[in-house]
């Protein structure tokens, strides 16, 4: 079979024969391996390879998109994509201008993690699983490890040719404790941009997670209601992603007049202390990249500066339609999907307070840590903490069952009244939007304090 590089170049040549406002193609070759445990036993172990591609065409503002595994006969594919686009199009095409790019980007890891022998990966996971199983009252464990290495070729009718490689690793460990028909669980999620070393040496964290699952069996449930809550950097990262990040994705906003009015630049969302950034150019994070899936260079974008809305994330189309600059945030999960506006690495900038300063003057509140998950409806968001503790008289007190927090973005960001100095980026997350998930992203924050946060009870 011909290499995807050759096929890409030929497609780029063939684009010239079609009458469309814009055409692009992405071709990918990927390898993955995974190991999962349920309990002491290996549940699943395997390898997969995939080769596929997609072609996207724009005619008069309408898009056609085709995806395929069979890389022969792609001329017919271009024709179909253009024909579909023509059927949709009824106005003027608008794409923010970008310069054509020719570049080759390596994965940046010394060793492709997929090629590490399964035996070596299994040895490490066995060590972690043994730690979980040594914990008294532990019923069972679930471990999921996955790695991937992908080479993607992007070509467009603008004349761009970009080859990008990326490697990715994820690890999720869950410890499950039971007693008298009660089931409680605690988890640890980690990831890295293809560096296997990043998931070594976690023995203490794994032990702590397993112990926490057991502690939860005797922990009380929180009483539902409004509390002052303090979020650790991991959960605050999920919070900033869910509560604000998604709202700054312009594909939700650009064709919705009402949302455009609400999301007008300069609008106040929080205190002067609050800065929120999305930055795909940070080196070595899971959400980082050099070019997005429309061939636009990645950038650092301030979304909120000194509490005011100052920017948002764009694809070429949303940028053009809103008269703003493209930010390089059009990302596709893989070749099966068209790129849509996504976050990369999203975080709250650190300020000056220590964690003790933040907790110190709370008479009664809840400290929440780690994540189960989070979701948003734009206005409302919920996110759930893996661990929760009462705060009494400025000190951490008893552990609580995991809690779910909810809020309204237009109110809650204003209720952040303290921001710590301890920024930490969490690499364990995957983001879902429409049907594309999990997309590698990272989120971060220092410790933050939110007043009047609604906590679900038991």
């Amino acid at each position: 079979m011909r290499g995807i590089e050759d096929i890409g170049r030929q497609l780029a040549e063939a684009f010239k024969n079609y009458n469309a406002d814009y055409i692009e193609a992405r071709l990918e070759q990927s390898q993955t391996s995974y190991i999962s445990y349920r309990g002491k036993e290996l549940e699943s172990i395997g390898r997969a390879t995939a080769t596929g591609g997609s072609i996207r065409a724009l005619v008069k503002g309408g898009w056609g998109f085709i995806s395929f595994n069979n890389l022969d006969e792609l001329r017919g594919g271009i024709e179909l994509a253009v024909k579909q686009a023509r059927l949709v199009g009824s106005e003027e095409s608008k794409l923010a201008p970008v310069a054509p790019v020719v570049d080759i980007v390596s994965s940046g890891v010394d060793k492709n993690p997929v090629t590490i022998p399964l035996a070596e990966k299994k040895l490490l996971l066995d060590e972690y699983n043994d730690i979980i199983w040594r914990t008294p009252k532990l019923q069972t464990s679930v471990i999921g490890y996955g790695d991937s290495h992908k080479k993607a070729v992007f070509v467009s009718s603008l004349g761009s040719y970009i080859e990008q490689e990326r490697a990715d690793i994820t690890l999720r460990l869950t410890a499950i404790a039971t007693q008298d028909g009660e089931v409680q669980q605690a988890g640890l999620s980690l990831g890295s941009r293809g560096n296997f070393g990043a998931i070594r040496g976690l023995h203490q964290q794994v032990e702590r997670t397993a112990q926490h699952a057991v502690e939860l069996l005797s922990a009380p449930k929180a009483k539902g209601g409004e509390y002052t809550v303090v979020l650790d950097p991991v959960l605050a990262g999920v919070f900033v992603h869910e509560a604000f990040g998604h709202l700054s994705e312009s594909d939700f906003v650009y064709e919705n007049e009402r949302l455009r009015e609400i999301m007008v630049l300069g609008k106040k969302f929080g205190s002067k202390e609050l800065n929120i950034v999305d930055d795909a150019t940070m080196p070595g994070l899971r959400g980082s990249y050099k070019y997005d899936d429309e061939g636009v260079p990645a950038s650092k974008t301030y979304l909120i500066r000194e509490g005011k809305l100052v920017g948002r994330l764009h694809s070429r189309e949303t940028a053009a339609r809103m008269g703003e600059k493209p930010t390089g945030n059009a990302r596709a999960l893989n070749y099966r999907y068209p790129p849509i506006v996504r976050m990369a690495n999203t975080y709250i900038e650190p300020r000056t307070l220590s964690c003790d300063d933040i907790i110190g003057d709370i008479k009664e509140g809840i400290y929440v840590k780690n994540w189960y998950g989070g979701t948003t409806s734009m206005e409302m968001f919920t996110f759930s903490a893996g661990e929760a503790y009462m705060i009494r008289n400025g000190k951490l007190a008893e552990a609580l069952r995991p809690v779910t927090l909810t809020g309204n973005v237009f109110i809650t960001l204003n209720n952040i009244d303290a921001i710590g100095n301890d920024l930490d980026m969490n690499q364990g997350g995957g983001c879902g939007k429409r049907e594309q998930m999990p997309l590698p992203v990272s989120n971060g924050s220092p410790h933050i304090r939110i007043r009047h946060c609604l906590v679900g009870g038991g």
Binding site: R47, I66, S384, T404
Partner: protein
């Protein structure tokens, strides 16, 4: 495929080849107008072998590279679980109708007009609403062969029609939506539009919920968003085997209200989750899970069933291209005899939950759920008075389903994987601003 099987047999005692190909044509509307037409074609082949008693597995989209597929599976087999099962040999399958040849010929133009009709109907009622709609036709073809002479082959067609609308006033947002799917082509948008219009009507007024325990009616969507994930986990034979299911040791015991009946059913004609056999070639069946509140079965694939000394229930599923594991096909909750109106009339002060956001993020295994009422209504003195917001509802599935006041007389499909009536429960914890 035979070629892969033959090569695999040279290095392994047993082998199975699973081939799936699919074609999908989505037509998508954004901001009330047609925006994308897509066509997605995919093929993949998975090889599962038993080598020196252990399971090896590999998947690829590169159909002509059988050599690497066989060698990857052989590498994996060094670490694989020991195989406790046998591949099914030649058997006969039930007739489960899942292919309608009339889906393929539906034209893009017809799909476009369906989407337009739907949006026009909803905007005719509420001109300010911004709609996304999706009309999708697709077909998959599955072929399984194994070294014991087992062979299964089927085609399935689907058609989906759905709409999501958002209505924004200042910073207040309302989200409504409905979708329907079938193996037949859908040509009727009125019923779907009708559901959305009803949501819009009920949400017109605002009401506030107090922070205290309240009776709750879960609509079919509400059941899907709040209660089903924990049950799907609890009946999974793998979790039962590990002791992680709260009902794993309660087979034959009454755990739920005696009005509750639940089946897993992969044999319903022309339903998108139906099929003649599962992803391991085991015949599909209808498995009773809860009968009169009593736990009657768990769901198994071949390997888990063998480990648990139970038979596969035909629930082997390869999600994400991975090794088969037990997974529900479609959950069906039997209707009761109380109408929705009767439920509402019975409530002095309570809530109707249509969509609970975030309920699946908690301790699903333990049955706890807690979520923001994304779409829900307040009931006062037997009448729906308006939409509630800034409200969280929490509970535990096992407590909620132990004591049900009434089960709705009409069951409805939600998201293709659940058919359920309304459920009316006496008390749930509500926290509100």
């Amino acid at each position: 495929m035979e070629n892969i099987l033959n090569q695999a047999k040279k290095v392994a005692e047993e082998a199975e080849v699973f081939f799936v190909s699919s074609e999908e044509t989505p037509v998508r509307f954004e901001a009330n107008r047609l925006k994308h037409i897509e066509h997605k074609q995919s093929t993949s082949v998975a090889l599962r072998i038993v080598r020196q008693g252990r399971i090896g597995y590999a998947v690829t989209t590169e159909l002509d590279d059988s050599q690497s597929l066989v060698s990857s599976a052989a590498e994996v087999a060094q670490f694989g679980m020991s195989a406790k099962f046998e591949f099914p040999s030649s058997i006969s399958y039930p007739t489960v109708e899942v292919f309608d040849p009339n889906v393929e010929p539906v034209t893009i133009e017809e799909m476009i007009s369906l989407g337009e009709e739907l949006i026009t109907a909803v905007r005719g009622h509420t001109p300010d609403i911004v709609c996304e709609a999706e009309v999708v036709k697709s077909a998959i073809s599955v072929h399984i062969i194994n070294s014991r002479g087992g062979q299964a082959k089927y085609r399935k067609s689907f058609f989906t029609l759905g709409i999501m609308g958002s209505l924004i006033h200042d910073t207040d947002m309302l989200f409504v939506g409905e979708s329907e799917s079938s193996c037949h082509p859908l040509s009727e948008s009125k019923a779907i539009a009708g559901v959305v219009l009803q949501q819009l009507e009920l949400a017109k007024n605002r009401a506030s919920a107090p922070s205290k325990p309240l009776p709750v009616i879960f609509t079919p969507h509400g059941v899907a968003s709040a209660l089903i994930s924990p049950l799907m986990a609890a009946f999974n034979g793998k979790l039962v085997l590990e002791g992680a299911s709260p009902i794993g040791s309660k087979l034959g015991q009454q755990v739920f209200d005696n009005k509750l009946w639940l089946w897993d059913d992969a044999t319903l004609a022309y339903r998108p989750e139906s099929r003649p056999c599962d992803d391991e070639g085991v015949p599909s069946q209808r498995t009773p899970l809860i009968a009169k509140g009593t736990v009657t079965n768990f769901l198994y694939d071949l390997q888990t069933g063998a480990l648990a000394h139970a038979r596969s229930t035909g629930n082997g599923s390869r999600s994400g291209g991975r090794l088969p594991g037990p997974s529900p096909s479609a959950f069906v909750i039997a209707p009761g005899n109380t109408t929705f109106d009767e439920m509402v009339q019975d409530i002095k002060e309570g809530l109707i939950i249509e969509q609970l956001m975030g309920a699946e993020q908690g301790n699903i295994l333990g049955g706890d759920f807690s979520g923001n009422v994304l779409l829900g209504y307040k009931v006062e003195s037997g009448k729906i008075v308006g939409r509630v917001k800034d409200t969280m509802v929490s509970g535990n599935v096992y407590q909620v389903l132990k004591d049900i006041i009434a089960i709705g007389s009409e069951a409805k499909w939600v998201g293709g994987f659940l058919q359920t009536p309304h459920l009316y429960c006496p008390s749930l914890s509500v926290a509100s601003k």
